[in-house]
């Protein structure tokens, strides 16, 4: 008996081949192939190979691609609920809790409903959290209070832009590749991108020397691994399970490495003389206040938005207080061992 012909799927991500996001995609495909004993093979093309990055969701839904990997941020305009489904203050949850909400707090069910009834995309999706957490960004001058931020031209993405905009910051959203030149020629005076690793690649340390972290806008960036609905239905249950499990493995594995890579990048930046600061609490507090107001408006206008945040709130209400109460504070034993290595001083 000859082995059955392997199933070949065509996949494309929204990122260049070297990006962490694409590396997860690749590792996932390799893992699927291994776990299925070669029965399922997935081609992982980088950004733009078949369709432009912003069209990956539509392309997968229409089966131009069998598989796509894209952040929800790329279809932010479709529905405001893409925000809590992918980033935002998330009621105190961190990247891990956010991922847990999907698999343990009812998020997967909502995701299914989101695709089917709200976005009307014929895909099956799996959450791929990456790049957590993101900083508040780079500035030419020190930022000691919200007042210092007001009137500043600041490049920021997604809900960060909406919120800081309302707080009187002059927000601009320009693509990643244009941030450094814009900063250089004074079009903007501050900019957030991702974190030490990715910002260093972009060259932000060459145009600003004050780096602030954390931000409240992106504790995590929620990507989506999506498979066309018809393609999914044709797969046997074991292959479907392999796809799911491999996505969890590949995401965790790459995120471990990415965390370490980012740690080294932060050290490199400091060695170069970048001044890393802790974002003043006052700014973060104001940000959360303003965001809650905006979120309230979104929730009134968009029933599905309300459904998502209600579910997240319910989950966060159980997990966050528990972790705050039960988990030892990260800084307790951390500072016991590494106090003099901490490179941020609280203001």
């Amino acid at each position: 008996q000859t082995p059955p012909k392997p199933i070949l799927l065509k996949g494309q991500s929204t990122h260049p081949a070297s990006a962490n996001f694409h590396l997860i995609f690749k590792l996932w495909a390799e893992t699927v192939e291994k776990m299925s004993g070669g029965r399922l093979k997935i081609e992982t093309l980088p950004a733009g190979a078949i369709v432009p990055p912003f069209e990956v969701f539509d392309a997968t839904s229409k089966n131009v691609l069998d598989v796509g990997m894209a952040p929800f941020g790329y279809i932010l305009g479709r529905n405001t609920a893409t925000i809590p489904m992918s980033h935002g203050p998330l009621f105190g949850m961190d990247g891990q809790d956010y991922w847990a909400w999907y698999y343990d707090g009812g998020g997967m069910k909502l995701l299914e409903e989101f695709y089917r009834d709200v976005l009307k995309l014929n895909v099956v999706g799996f959450p791929i959290p990456t790049d957590y957490p993101q900083g508040m960004g780079w500035f030419k001058k020190e930022i000691n209070s919200l007042a210092d931020l007001k009137g500043l031209k600041y490049r920021i993405y997604g809900i960060g832009a909406e919120t800081y905009g309302r707080l009187g910051v002059s927000v601009v959203t320009i693509p990643g590749g244009e941030i450094v030149p814009a900063m250089e020629r004074g079009v903007i005076e501050g900019a957030e991108w991702i974190n030490c690793e990715e910002d260093k690649k972009l060259g932000l340390h060459q145009v600003a020397k004050h780096y602030y972290t954390p931000g409240m806008h992106e504790p995590v960036t929620g990507g989506q691994l999506i498979i066309n609905g018809e393609v999914w239905k044709k797969l046997t249950p074991d292959l479907q399970e392999i796809i799911k499990v491999a996505s969890v493995y590949a995401t965790t594995q790459r995120n471990f490495s990415f965390n370490r890579e980012t740690a080294h990048a932060c050290q490199d930046l400091i060695k170069m003389g970048v001044q890393m600061h802790r974002t003043p609490d006052e700014i973060l507090k104001n940000f959360l206040d303003e965001w809650e107001k905006i979120q309230g408006e979104y929730a009134t206008k968009n029933p599905f938005y309300k459904k998502v945040i209600d579910s997240q709130k319910t989950y966060a209400e159980q997990i966050v207080p528990f972790k705050l109460s039960w988990f030892p504070p990260y800084n307790f034993a951390g500072e016991y061992y590494w106090k003099d290595k901490v490179y941020l001083q609280k203001k």
Binding site: D58, G73, Y74, I75, L76, G77, R78, N79, V118, L119, K120, K153, A161, E162, G165, S170, V171, V172, T173, I174, P175, V187
Partner: protein, 196 residues
């Protein structure tokens, strides 16, 4: 470049086609000319808004939220919608290597065949698939996302099916012109080659 070269029936030609034949060509050409010229005003819009943005940014330290998105959307919409006008102006390129040596009648036949076999199937398909997508955008309330401007997206997406319609309307006039060319062995009107 006179706008209405095709508007009148060439002098000294026996009127073998019914009057309506010329009237249809005239009406369609006029329609494409007027719509095309209206769409062309987008060029002035782009010059003015983009210059305004640069002035506001450097002069007043106050960049706008809308110029960036509005400019590429206006450009995208305008060039699609302008395709019918470009067809009227004979702007869509072909390779002349053998074309130049064809007789006028052969040119007419090749063009007629390519309109019926290539052009119309492509345009009808394009209209249907892009209409579907514009509808989807309307249905899901899609908004823009490259800036905080957040403008509704369906009108931008709807320019594709509309562009296909404009092209198909002008296509009718062009097919009739081919027919004329086949019948009389000469061009209905001469279109200057447009360069870039």
């Amino acid at each position: 470049m006179s706008a209405d070269t095709g508007a009148s029936q060439p002098a000294g030609v026996a009127n073998e086609f019914p009057h309506a034949f010329y009237a249809i060509i005239r009406a369609i050409d006029r329609f494409s000319d007027v719509t095309g010229k209206l769409i062309a005003l987008t060029m002035l819009f782009l010059v003015v808004t983009i210059s305004y943005e640069v002035v506001m940014r450097y002069g007043f330290n106050a960049p706008t939220v809308w110029v960036y998105e509005s400019s590429f959307m206006a450009n995208g919409a305008a060039f699609m919608l302008g395709c019918g006008y470009a067809l009227y102006k004979g702007a869509h390129v072909r390779t002349d290597i053998y074309w130049e040596n064809y007789s006028e009648r052969t040119k007419g036949i090749v063009d007629m065949v390519s309109y019926i076999l290539l052009f119309y199937p492509v345009m009808i398909t394009f209209m249907l698939i892009s209409f579907d997508n514009a509808w989807h955008s309307w249905d899901t309330g899609e908004r823009s996302q490259e800036s905080v401007w957040r403008v509704i997206m369906w009108p931008f997406r709807a320019t594709i099916p509309l562009a296909a319609v404009l092209l198909m309307i002008q296509g009718v006039s062009e097919v009739l012109k081919c027919w004329y060319q086949i019948q009389f062995g000469r061009e209905f009107e001469h279109k200057e080659k447009i360069e870039i």
